[in-house]
């Protein structure tokens, strides 16, 4: 049984990728120490040492061994604490493949959207994604509350971590993205997920994110001015 000191998460309350790991650890009732990294300002030596390839959060350090990349970490948590708490991934190989596929799709979509400078193009990609995920939700949930069925699972975590950020985008952009008339399944799921015990204390609300976003912009602007 892992002691609290032997599990550390280099991450941040403000990072959705870090939130994924926190959600997984919570599901498995694993005690851990969250080491808050000011990832938007600089990379700590500790982070660079733990993740030399990407130098990014989150990094899970279990008994001094680092695991990087949020989805890899979530699967690791499922396997390392296999007897403890519910399973994160489904047990059926085909359903596991489907869950991994959609999680991969979400990350890929994000990667391509973040390369876009045009807001219109980004919104287009998000809506395109929601349309496909609405279908995926119907197939995966089979009428139940979550992608994982009765209980929160891998795909709920993979997508749910962005819900606060979706709200922020709606506030900044002034338009409804997760529109319940267009995506009723997803909208219902979002509400249920955000009020679930697992997510409630981990996912930051939109206003907190907005405040954070402002700080990041300011810090980056100051860094650029200092550099010039």
């Amino acid at each position: 049984m892992a002691k609290s000191a032997s599990v550390q998460l280099l991450g941040s309350w403000a990072s959705p990728f870090s939130n994924r790991v926190q959600l997984a650890l919570k599901l498995k009732s694993v005690e851990y120490e969250l080491v808050e990294e000011a990832f938007y300002v600089s990379k700590s030596d500790r982070l660079v040492k733990a993740n030399p390839v990407y130098q990014k959060i989150p990094v899970l350090i279990h008994d001094e061994k680092p695991v990087c990349e949020s989805l890899v970490i979530v699967e690791y948590i499922d396997e390392a604490w296999t007897g403890k708490g519910p399973s994160i991934l489904p047990s059926d190989p085909y359903e596991r493949a489907i869950a991994r596929f959609w999680a991969g799709y979400i990350d890929e979509k994000l990667e391509t959207a973040s390369g876009d400078e045009e807001k219109f193009a980004v919104v287009g990609k998000v809506l395109e994604g929601f349309a496909l995920l609405e279908e995926a939700f119907a197939k995966c949930s089979k009428g139940k509350a979550f992608f994982g069925g009765d209980e929160v699972g891998y795909l709920d975590i993979a997508l749910g971590c962005f819900l606060g950020w979706v709200k922020v985008a709606e506030i900044i952009g002034g338009g409804k993205l997760l529109d319940e008339s267009k995506f009723p399944g997803l909208a219902g799921w979002a509400e249920r997920f955000l009020s679930h015990d697992v997510a409630k204390d981990i996912l930051p609300d939109a206003l907190k994110i907005l405040e954070f976003f402002g700080k990041v912009q300011a810090a980056r602007a100051a860094a650029t001015t200092a550099a010039e």
Binding site: V53, V67, V72, E75, Y76, P93, G104, G115, L132
Partner: protein, 254 residues
């Protein structure tokens, strides 16, 4: 929809090659169907509507796509055959991490290749050069400034070598990335060895000098029947020709 196992692939697709190697390693019988990228079959479009790409493994009518996910699926379904992934959770996480890194760069490669065939060399270099500014500019800037051929080539050479050295480091003294046994990460990477020869000729690199362990590893993998069999379908010279032909078409005739 018929029962059984069907693999939709394309002869020089390195991703489809991964699946062929894995199925052969496990001794699993399957039907292979060659797709034409310029004329995709209705079956491919139906089974992989989101990406419309190969490989797709169709098992008893149900499709699994994305090569690494197919490898995991194969490992989980055919549990009685020797596993591709190690059993220890930490080792599994490491294998997945490195395979994901290869995939990230490979995705870029294919996107680039379709937009800028003349920059095949530069693109492929990013395939396994993880943490450098060139790659970051692409991710963050969305647009890239294409340098002259000479500069591109030099920058590409450096990136390729940086990436290969990282993998060389990860391999270390092991026989395979999986340790004593040929496994998941070996399967994930070996198809790209097909391209090393092409880069040797296009980029005038001497990979063996800088990454001797990696080349030795690749040669060991080539001795395996599952690997040499899938390479035979798409020998290096075919890729060489393909790349040189595209380069010529785009005016890069050095």
């Amino acid at each position: 929809m018929e029962d059984g196992l069907i693999l939709l692939g394309y002869n020089i697709s390195m991703f489809a090659m991964r699946v062929r190697i894995a199925l052969d390693e496990k001794g699993i019988e399957y039907e292979y169907r060659e797709e034409r990228l310029d004329n995709k079959s209705p079956l491919l479009l139906e089974m992989n509507p989101v990406h419309q790409k190969v490989p797709v493994l169709i098992h008893n009518g149900k499709p699994v796509s994305e090569s690494l996910m197919i490898l995991e699926y194969i490992d989980e379904v055919w549990k009685d055959k020797p596993p591709l992934l190690p059993s220890d959770p930490y080792q599994r996480a490491q294998a997945r991490f490195w395979a994901d890194l290869i995939d990230k760069k490979a995705r870029l490669f294919y996107e680039y290749y379709s937009k800028y065939p003349q920059c095949v060399i530069v693109v492929f270099a990013e395939l396994i050069a993880p943490h450098n500014a060139y790659f970051q500019i692409y991710i963050n800037g969305g647009r890239r400034v294409w340098f002259s051929k000479g500069e591109e080539l030099e920058a590409a050479k450096k990136e390729l070598m940086d990436g290969l050295k990282l993998l060389e480091g990860e391999l270390g003294e092991k026989v395979y990335f999986g340790g004593d046994k040929f496994g998941f990460l070996d399967v994930a990477l070996i198809p790209f060895y097909n391209c090393f020869d092409s880069f040797e000729s296009c980029g005038k690199l001497r990979i063996e000098e800088h990454c001797p362990k990696l080349i030795a590893w690749a040669k060991r993998c080539m001795e395996k029947e599952s690997v040499s069999k899938s390479f035979a379908v798409a020998p290096p010279s075919m890729i060489d020709e393909y790349i040189l032909m595209t380069r010529k078409k785009n005016g890069n005739t050095e």
